[in-house]
Symmetry: C3
Subunit: 350 residues, 3 copies
């Protein structure tokens, strides 16, 4: 892909200064940019780079004062940062614009495929599957029997969706994530062995959800494990059977949510957190990375930390004191000695 400074300026409704015909073919940070790059300057801290950058075109805020000579073509816009974000998005949309059905792939005759979809080579589409319009199923994905995928979804290479699961619209799932594997349910037997509890529920993923690479979401024993509208899950996360993740909740990498836990709306949960089964977390809860949550949180909008977790304030205070423990122990010993001296003194003076 290659664009002239003039084309970009028109797209962003900007005003151009310098050579309108210079061509750019990549996006880069102003400090790293090479010839042929398009860059931007929004943060005044980076202003000095404007005079040294090798970028061919730089987008700046319309009120920026440029007092020395500059090499790149300048495009002035109202908000350089958001204009650049728009370009990033357009770039990716063009770059990732795949369409059509590559061969060989496996599409069961009973599957229904929407309009303008992409189905990559070696993808597997089972019986009774429905794929909505403009959805992209990358190579080597597995879509089990009777799965429903809505419109405008992207399933990157190697995603596995077990039978009966439901993805609504604009769902993005990254490579090798597994949706709908069996919940971890086993009943102990008299002889010490475990017998499997059949897992016949499914997973429902609502609109605008994004799920990271290698993340696992288990199907419900009965009913559904539910990932609500707007949830964003990072890589390598575990969501156990019958859990429910509330709207617009964000969870960082390597966190584990146990069975039947109900995470509220708009939670922000750090990485490597563990949450036990059957608890409920109130709306707006925030959890520090590496914490362990072993009971329900009822008050909305609070921050928690530690394992087991307490209020974030308590947690921070306790952490500081833990580092002072050797000192504390020493003080106690001094107190013991001083007290002994006083006791001897007092009994001597009596």
């Amino acid at each position: 892909m290659q664009f002239s400074a003039k084309e970009i300026s028109l797209l962003l409704n900007g005003s151009l200064q310098g050579n309108p015909d210079v061509k750019v073919f990549q996006l880069a940070k102003i400090e790293d940019a090479q010839e042929g790059s398009l860059s931007f300057l929004a943060n005044p801290k980076y202003e000095a780079f404007l005079y040294t950058t090798k970028a061919s075109v730089v987008i700046v805020n319309e009120d920026l004062l440029i007092d020395k000579q500059v090499t790149p073509t300048i495009i002035r816009v109202k908000d350089a940062y958001s204009s650049f974000s728009i370009l990033l998005e357009k770039y990716n949309t063009l770059k990732l614009d795949k369409k059509g059905i590559e061969q060989p792939c496996f599409i069961h005759p009973d599957a229904k495929i929407g309009k303008d979809v992409y189905i990559g080579a070696f993808a597997y589409i089972g019986a009774g599957v429905v794929i909505g319009d403009r959805s992209k199923i990358y190579p080597q994905c597995y879509i089990g029997d009777d799965v429903k995928v809505g419109d405008d979804c992207s399933l990157h290479s190697g995603v596995k969706i077990y039978h009966d699961c439901v993805l609504k619209n604009t769902v993005t799932i990254h490579s090798n994530a597994v949706i709908g594997g069996d919940g971890f349910g086993f009943a102990p037997q008299a002889n010490g062995a475990y017998s499997k509890v059949s897992q016949i529920g499914n997973v429902v993923i609502e609109d605008d959800v994004e799920i990271g690479a290698n993340t696992c979401i288990d199907r419900a024993t009965m009913g559904s494990t539910i990932i609500k509208k707007g949830v964003k899950l990072d890589n390598l996360i575990q969501i156990a059977h019958n859990a429910e993740i509330g709207q617009n909740t964000v969870i960082a990498s390597q966190t584990g949510i146990s069975g039947s836990a109900k995470i509220g709306d708009s939670n922000i949960i750090g990485g490597q957190v563990g949450i036990v089964g059957h608890v409920t977390l109130a709306k707006g809860t925030q959890i520090q990375a590496k914490s362990g949550i072993n009971k329900s949180i009822e008050e909305e909008g609070k921050k928690w930390g530690g394992a087991p977790a307490t209020s974030y304030q308590n947690y921070m205070r306790s952490q500081v004191i833990i580092q002072r423990l050797p000192e504390m122990e020493k003080k106690i010993e001094e107190l013991q000695r001083a007290l002994l001296a006083l006791q001897q003194n007092s009994s001597a003076s009596n």
Copy 2:
């Protein structure tokens, strides 16, 4: 799949009350059930739902007293819960009854394939592989050269088994799990680089083992990493080279077992636990989620918690005190002040 109330009653050896011809096509919890659902009532707490449920058929205990009018057809059995479990299992057996060889797949001419197997499209079966009777190899699985898979195994889509590994009978492995990747063995060199220690052992997985999605079990450097009979592993678990997991041990998600660790029989290990290399855990050991085990455990049947772990009792006591640390520190300061006052007082009175 669709069944009449009468067919289900005959299957469970129950006694039927209501319309025997009503049809059900799905299983559901009594509180969520819609028309066409089969449900059950075992827990007296849920009895009220019997009079409001939309389920078409409900299985109940034979001695249940029904004192109001009910809409669904009722099937009375000895034990409603276990009857329903039987149905769940039958449902899944029917639902997941795949057979035959889908095309395209890759089966090396030197591989031996048993009777009544399922091999999905895009599965890869290497040279010298043996697949037992009735085993299911879902689409996009990779079975490396000389791997042995026993009878009645299920390898879900995307499972990767490196060369030379051995799966006995009735082993279930969920999507994208990796069995037999190289152990993490590198020898430091004088120049600061690491040179790889070749990993030529394998992984042996005994009967009745179930392994979760995206779990990794590394091959031994020499000899075998061994997962014994009846072990159940959740998703995203790491089992390092030359580890051994004892019979009927259950391990929750995101736990890591380091190299050459020997986990005893019937252990119950929580999620996000870390266990260092070369330790031995006694039979019946139970480990709290998020704990870190850095030494062997010799006494059988004990509970442990914390990182590094102590007895579960100690761990719980210390956790409570950690939350009282700010208060404890205050007490020490008060003691220091009071003692100083006494000392001054005492020297003044001398």
Copy 3:
């Protein structure tokens, strides 16, 4: 594969004692070895096994004194351990010597494939991809558009590389690892939803890097996430967008490195560690398993532990005291009682 004792002796430049024609077809530890095995004895602790082993050939140090009769053929070499390592490597090189292009696979007409490569069935090679000489792309790998793979790389079954990423030479990646998935970047909106920040950077992996199964390395927002020469990553690790891992750094399983963190050269990082974003770790830093690093480390070559981490020494001391907390609390109560007694005594005597 089968070799005679004589062939092995010649290969290792050793001196042979016993039957030169005995054949071996596998490698085994001296204590486990069966007939037909080749084994070695380097550690004097294992010397007794020399007289009981069933191995057909044993490699020993040239100065070993053998005072009883032995069954296996003996090969004396300068250093038995390193000679055996050489054999392990040769064994694996022969065992894993795959070449040629298996069908069906998908190779875009615009891809460039080097000499003597292996491309397994169901592998996907996108437009503009370059694969260097002697590289092995195992079945079911995905190599996105414009990816560059250098010479002598091994990508095991199911590895997914998103578009534009760069792998230099001698890179090994284990099954189902995901390279170049989107960084976890979302901007909060006024209505509580998050909008995606497009991730247009890539991942660069330098020479001699090895990456474990199911590990995820996210692409940079802009620029590159960089894994430098000689880095070794275990399984199930998370490396977030724009992170940088320094030369010859080793990271154990299930550790997570957050966005824009810069890990120095020759770091040794244990399992299940979490490192927050935007920090810098000095050269030679060592981090205890399960630690949490929440700030930069400037001093080189130090050990750290705990979450949040302190110096390893402090961490160990605090851990010991934590286990003494119940005792400490008791001492404080005793001090309070003794002081009260003294105070009463003192006021009584005034």
